[in-house]
Every structure is written in C-alpha cells, then in structure tokens.
Amino acid sequence: MKKNRAIPYEMVLNSIASTRELVERILPKGEIESLKLGAKCIEEVVEESLEKANEGAPIIGHHFAFQREYLYCFDCVPVCIEGTSYLLSALLPDGVERYYDLMANWGHPFHTCTSQKGTMGMTLDDLFQFDAIITPTAPCDNTYASYPFFEYENIPLVLPDIPFLHEEKSYNYYGKQIRLALEELGKIIGQKPDYDRLKRHIEIENKVFPLQLDLLELRKAVPCPVENIFNAIAAGVAVFASGTEQKLKFYEEYLEIAKERYKNKQQYGKEEKIRSIWPYMLIFFDLSLCEWLDREIGMSILFDIFNYNFYELIDTSKDLDTMYYDMAKRGMNYPMMKESTDFYYPFIENCIQMAKDYSADCFIFTSHIGCKQFGSVPQILREALRDEVDIPMLVIDLDVGDKRFTSMKIIRDKLKMFAETLM
C-alpha cells in the first residue's frame, strides 16, 4: 500500500477540519454559513481522496482550468495544483510561504504565479508524488512556463492544447485535444477512460449549474443576500469538489439560505452601503478581508471572476464526440479561461452589463503579479466603466497568494480610502 504521496492534502484536511469545527462551535446560526457548508464539503471530498490515495489510486495533478469532473473517468485522486497552494495560503498561519521560498531559491522567478509556485515547492520538498499531471495550454504564460518544471521532476505531463478565440473550430479542436489527453493519461496510469462514470459526474455538475444561476440572480437584490466570503468558498468548492454530490449539496443548502435572506430582505453584516464587483480574483491569503468588508465597511462583493462565469450544460445523452465538444465549450468558458482565450472586447462589454444589471457602485480590480494576461486591461476597463456607467474602479497591485508582496494593512487602507470617496 502506497502512503504519504499527498501530504499537502493531509494539511488541507487538518486545517479545513479544524476551521469547520471552530466556526460550527463558535458562530451562531446565520453567521458565515457559506464557510460552514464549504468547509464541510471540502473536508469530506479531501478525506475521501486521501483514503483513495492510501489505497494506491494514482494521484493526478490538474490545472484548475482542467475541469476536475473530467478526471472521474479514471479511478484516481484529482489534485488541483493551484487550489492546493491557495487554499493552504488561506488556512495555514504563514500560508505556504515556505514553499514559495523553496521554489524561489530553486530559481523560479519572483514574478511568476504563486498559485503554481506553492505546489511546485511542495513537490520539490517531496510532499507530493504525482503519477501524472494534466493541464490545458492556457490560461496564461505562467502555465506554459511553470508546468515544464514537473516534467523536469520526472512527472509525466499531459497537455491538451487550447486555441485562442471562441469559435466552432476552437471547440472542435479542443474537444479532440481533451479526448486525446484523457486517452494518453489513461495509458500513463494503466486505465481506460470509463465514460459511464464520466457521464455520471458531469451530470452532477449539470445539476449544479442552475443553482449557480439562481444564486447569481439573487445577488441582483439590494441588499445582496450572499455574504462576501461565499465567493472565495465557492472557488474552493469548485477546485476541490467539482463533479461530486458534496458540491451539489453545498449549492442546494446555500441557495436556501440566500433565498431566505432575500425573502426577508435580510442583509449580511453591516448595512450595505457599497456594491462592488471584483471582475478578477479575490485575495486568498487572508479571507478575513471579506468579513471586514461586510461588517466594517458595508461593502458587498457581488461576485468575483469565479462566480460570474458559468459554463454551459454538457449533453451526455448523445455520442462521445458531442460530449467532448460540450466539454471543450465548458472548458473554454471556465473562469479566467474565457477571458484569456478571447480578446478583451466581450470581457469589457460583460463588465458594463453586469454593472448595470447588479446596480454596482464600483469595481475593484486585483492586479495579481502573476497574471500578465490581464495586465493590459485595467485602464481600458476603467475608462469603459467611467464612460458607460459612470462608476469608478480601484486597482490594487498585489500577489493574491502572498501577503509579503502587498500587506493586508495596505490593502485594507486602500479599500477604506476608496470606500470613503464613494460615500
């Protein structure tokens, strides 16, 4: 029996379990419900994963942009490279700085994304032993640049190629790439793709989709019935639990809570004074920011990039080619993939439309040092928002996974000052 091949997953399990226990015991009913539900969901899935790993199931590392549910065509343990870095950066007292530093000392450039740097450092430290890693060739330079490190460490790398631009030919090409990649992955781990199993897990995701849309619709209400931290938790649930019944349950239960709040015109935290849209990521190294904004500033985060991009349903009733085509479409419309595999025009149009639909007062753009693919958009977006809907946008330069780049104090000060100008 193989053991200890996914030690960071044990770290995730321990920290998420203690977080859940803490919030369940301390917080009264109605307080940060998304954290309670999300922690439970992730804990259960990670626990199952560790059991499987201990039984000898292959550990497949995957990019967050390669849908976790697709890997259920194998009997394996999917481990999200980026999710592991950032969930631990949120849960551990000093985040995963030790592993960032290990990689930096090994030569990984300081400006390259910490979402990969953390897990790379853990691999270098022999905490992970992946059987294979799969990543699409997107969404960013960090992906093309950092993943070859795993190959250097003798981990087989499978690379479904993803084209630029959303066209029929792109979905056809990427669909075939996913198929070839899964077949190649199967050869590496000595398994054949089990399509019935794959369909079952995709169908679970298909059931999640309308719930996500309902939640998005509820956020149009003033005050917003969804607490800020939900956005971060939902991102965690997506990368750790997609394709599972636990994720479905998370959305079903949280939707009921949000509906109840909506019905009672109940708000979370302080009186909602500012409605903000974060068109890019939240800050992962300190999720207490979300609560601080809710409770101290009265600023709602209506959604971030992981909570307004929803993919389409996958038709599992027809032939495999149709399913792969739909899988490609889902992949290319996944958060961050959608924006990175297209020009900025639809992104800007969407932002303007969302500002109108959700009565946003402002945008907050977290300009993450790793994300060069978004490095040219802030000013264009700022000008478009000013001209079209007359609302301002704050840009904060930071590393969303490392407090040492821009400290939480600086971030809070900026947000506070910005909020004061709005009120």
């Binding site: 030569g107 250097y152 084209p163 630029f164 792109s170 090409y173 060069k372 693919q373 040219s376 958009v377």
Partner: protein, 380 residues
C-alpha cells in the same frame, strides 16, 4: 571599416529608416517571429518587425499596462502612443506571450483611436498552438490559410503560389546569408562580435529582404576578408533568453570581458537556423507553416524545452563556449522559467551559467557590469 558607421547598419539604431519613407509598399508591423513573413512579402507588403531600440520612456504606456508587464512591450507601446509607428498600414499579432498578444486590443482601442489619427489600419491575429503535434500543425495550416484569405480581402490583392515560392526563395537566401555571417562568430578567431551580429540582424529585420540580401552579401564579403578580432583575454559566451533589440546591452556584456559567440534570441539564431523546405511537393503555404511550427522554438512552445536544450548543447560544442548567459526581461515568465531549467541542466554538465534579469532599456549598468565581470572572472 567600423560597422557602427556603416550606412545600412545605422538603421539598427533608429526606429524609422529611409526605406520606410521611400517604399511604395504597405508597411506591415509585427511583434513576433511566429508571424509568417514570407506570406507578408508575397502580399507585396513591407514586413517591419516592431521594436523599441533606444527608447527609455514608458510613461504613456504605463497607464495602459500594469507595472508587472514586460518593459520591451511597454516601451514599444509608448512609441506607438507617441505616434512613432503611425507609418504602419497593417498590424499582425499572435498569441506569442501574454504581454505582446494584448497589443492587438491596445492598438485597436488606444493607439489607432488617438485624436487626429484617421488612417484605417487592418489588424490580423493568428492563434498558434502551444504544443508541437500533428493536430497542432493542421490547426496552424488552417490559421495561416485563413490569414491569407483575410489579407487578400483587406488589401484587395491576390497571393499566388508563384509569389509565395518567390518569397520563400528570398527568405531562405536571407537566412542563409545571415547564418554564414553568424558562423564567422563561431570561429576560433571570430570575425565579428556579438554586438555587430545583433546590429546586422536588427537592420536586416527593418528593411525588405531584397534590399537586405544585397547588403548582407556585401557585409559577408567584407567580414570574410576582415582580420580576426583579438579575443585572447575574452571568454566565449552563449546568450539565451528574452528579446534583445538594444546594442547597449550586448556592448555591456562584451565590455565586461566576454564575446558573444552564439545565441538563441529573437533577433538572432532563433529566426535563421531553419529554412522553408523547397524540395517537397507540398504547397508553399503549407511549407511556410511547417517551418514556422517546427523551427527552433521559444519557450511559448510548452513541450519543446528538450529541443531547445539540444540546441544549446550543440552551440556550446560548436562555439567552444566557456559560459552561458541566461537573461530575461523582468516579468517574462516564459524565459524566466525556461532559464531556470537551463540553469539546473547546464550546471549538471559543469558549464558555468549566469542567470539574471534586466529591463529592456539599459538601466542599472554599474551593478550589472560588476556582476557580469565577476561571473566572467570566475570562469576557468
């Protein structure tokens, strides 16, 4: 003859040049070596590689690109915003890296929308695969074929196979001439420095190839007869990494006790070691695509590091290299990580390596000189 004073090579020091003013052709600007230049030439366009040589100011561009973006791209955008590239009649962009691919939108939404700028500049985009595979090759063949159709429509022209074959010949000849010049650097007693080679390559990329080829022939004949350079006290280095469009940078290296014998950079070997095949039966556009796709890659090709390493090892042997300089423009993740792997791989082979970052314009020269001198002194 001092090559720096050569009239043709002076072109390398400036963004514009007399040929741009004289030409009757439409000028097609492009950023990346993955743009099929032969196709542009066959369309009777003047292919012009956008660069930022000598520019130190990025004030205007900094408004539109965050500080984590590459200073080469920011610098070129600054020039564009100043109107320096207003002579362009077409713009060709591909998804080579995250920094340069977004120039498509920035030129469209900002540069070409400047007050007083009324010219309609057609823009073209190619989606390149990030891995090397048969499916990827087919994808790129379709992309290049579609590009041809779009160009024909935009410029109201017809790009025939005959024209493509003529351009292939012209470009193969150009690469051969440059290779012959570059080979004179590999000699035990080189005939030219790395800075001179870079100057020739940049000038070559700034003018139509029928003009460049005549100039390269002249320079090749001159260099063959030239006395070898005295390099007794210099270490022979191989230069790898990000784009270098600035001779001050290579001068700094060569003034620190080294001579650049070979390279794998954009204005260098990366564009000249592979030719378009002429002997097979495939149509010319497919052969152009074949070269483009399978040529010596840059790190944007995600699965091709082993082949790049093979080239590095080959050049180390061919050039009797004493040490390898791995440089990247700050914030370039692609070269940063590729260099990281090279550093480990070359150290295993006991090859002295120095891995550093820099800005596109020459800044912080004293510190960099000291570090380079220290590295060069450490080489046995």
């Amino acid at each position: 003859m001092n090559l720096q004073q050569d009239n043709f090579l002076k072109i390398a020091d400036t963004i514009t040049n007399p040929y741009l003013n004289k030409t009757h052709k439409k000028i097609a600007g492009y950023y990346c070596t993955y743009i099929p230049e032969e196709l542009l030439d066959a369309a009777d366009l003047y292919p012009y590689r956008i660069r930022a040589t000598g520019n130190e100011n990025t004030d205007l561009a900094d408004t539109y690109m965050v500080r984590f973006t590459c200073s080469f791209v920011r610098s070129s955008l600054n020039l564009a915003l100043e109107g320096v590239f207003d002579f362009l009649d077409g713009l060709f962009i591909c998804n080579s890296c995250d920094h340069s691919r977004r120039m498509f939108e920035l030129y469209d939404m900002v540069v070409f929308k400047r007050e007083g700028f009324t010219k309609q500049v057609p823009r073209f985009y190619i989606s390149l695969p990030h891995i090397i595979s048969e499916e990827g090759f087919q994808w790129l063949c379709n992309e290049i074929s579609e590009l041809k159709d779009k160009m024909e429509k935009a410029f109201n022209i017809s790009i025939t196979n005959e024209k493509l074959n003529t351009s292939i010949e012209l470009y193969n000849q150009n690469r051969k001439l440059l290779r012959n010049i570059y080979n004179l650097r590999l000699l035990e007693h080189p005939k030219l420095t790395g800075t001179e080679a870079l100057r020739i390559s940049i000038a070559n990329n700034s003018v139509p190839k029928e003009i460049a080829n005549k100039e390269l022939e002249r320079l090749l004949n001159y260099l063959k007869e030239r006395d070898p350079i005295d390099i007794d006290d210099k270490k022979r280095v191989l230069l790898l990494g990000s784009i270098v469009d600035n001779m001050e940078f290579t001068e700094l290296i060569e003034d620190s006790g080294a001579i650049i014998i070979s390279d794998n950079i954009c204005f260098g070997n990366r564009t000249i070691v592979d030719d378009v095949k002429v002997e097979n039966n495939k149509n010319p556009l497919e052969r152009i695509t074949e070269r483009l796709y399978y040529r010596l890659s840059c790190p944007r090709m995600m699965d091709d590091h082993p082949r790049r390493l093979e080239f590095v090892n080959q050049e180390i042997e061919r050039g009797k290299i004493d040490g390898v300089l791995l440089q990247r423009i700050n914030n370039c993740d692609l070269h940063g990580c590729d260099n990281m792997l090279f550093e480990h791989e070359l150290k295993k082979l006991n090859i002295p390596v120095y891995n550093f970052d820099r800005e596109n314009f020459q800044a912080d020269t004293t510190r960099l000189t000291t570090r380079l001198q220290a590295f060069i002194e450490m080489i046995d």
